[in-house]
Symmetry: C2
Subunit: 164 residues, 2 copies
């Protein structure tokens, strides 16, 4: 497997995101969504990769084997994020990335973004704990989700292997 950013699924730090156990059709049905071929393809690509992908990456991956429109991919992604099947991860000014939303097979986990090569990776859920107790006590709104993003320089780039 080639070295480089997430497009080629070479997560460096954990395999939290990758999934062989999720039944995508069932996940869709549970959310009251028709399990269309396109939706299944999107879920398979996202779930089969161990780091979050952009809409364009998902589109190109599916396109290699199936005809699909890019707008359709956007619409499916939006729908699945709304229904909490996928989660959207955003980084500075660039394209959003999509990964599996937390479910029985996917614990919530922090993400790492390399400031040098822009690679995104999933970190293992245990590596960073957040004190939610205190937050919920002091915060007067309703907390739905806490996202932790670690920025820094990845192992690859530290070794000098990162591309500028």
């Amino acid at each position: 497997m080639a070295a480089g950013p997430c497009t080629v699924a070479n997560n460096l730090y954990c395999d939290q995101a990758m999934c062989e156990q999720c039944n995508y059709a069932r996940l869709l049905k549970n959310a009251d969504l028709e399990a269309t071929a396109n939706r299944l393809h999107v879920m398979e690509v996202v779930g089969g990769n161990n780091c979050p992908l952009t809409a364009a990456e998902i589109f190109h991956t599916i396109s290699r084997t199936q005809p699909i429109n890019q707008v359709t991919v956007y619409r499916i992604l939006e729908l699945l994020v709304e229904q909490n099947l996928l989660e959207r991860i955003t980084i500075g000014g660039r394209a959003a990335h999509y990964g599996m939303a937390p479910n029985e097979h996917h614990a919530p986990h922090p993400h790492f973004i390399c400031t040098r090569c822009a690679a995104i990776d999933c970190l293992s859920p245990e590596c960073l704990s957040v004190d939610m107790e205190n937050l919920r006590k002091t915060f007067s709104g309703e907390v739905e989700r806490v996202e932790v993003r670690v920025e820094g320089i990845c192992r690859n780039c530290l070794k000098g292997g990162g591309k500028k």
Copy 2:
């Protein structure tokens, strides 16, 4: 002061971001940057607001009193983020927001995004603690920064005051 999202500086949860103490000219000089009028305007607008603003908001605010080009605003923002005077905060798919970077008057703090009205607020630094120890121990890259984002429904929207 009107209710609504950040554009009108009505932070609900803390005033961590707002600053009457920062000397912007000095901050610029310290970073070896010329303290031009435009740069000062950008810093004043960002520092004078208690929640992060988009480039467009900053541009429009300055434009009310000074002629300035939007591209200039983008360039200044990029420069100031590079030099660690400002920090860029990104949310789902939309424009980046800019706030004061951590310095002697600004502790790093989490941000809150209302999933209903899209308002962004700064939370107080103490309200959420993160165990960096464990992270640095287990992470094989170099950590530069940890960003915490809380998503949920803000006080306003819970009261029914939020606009859809």
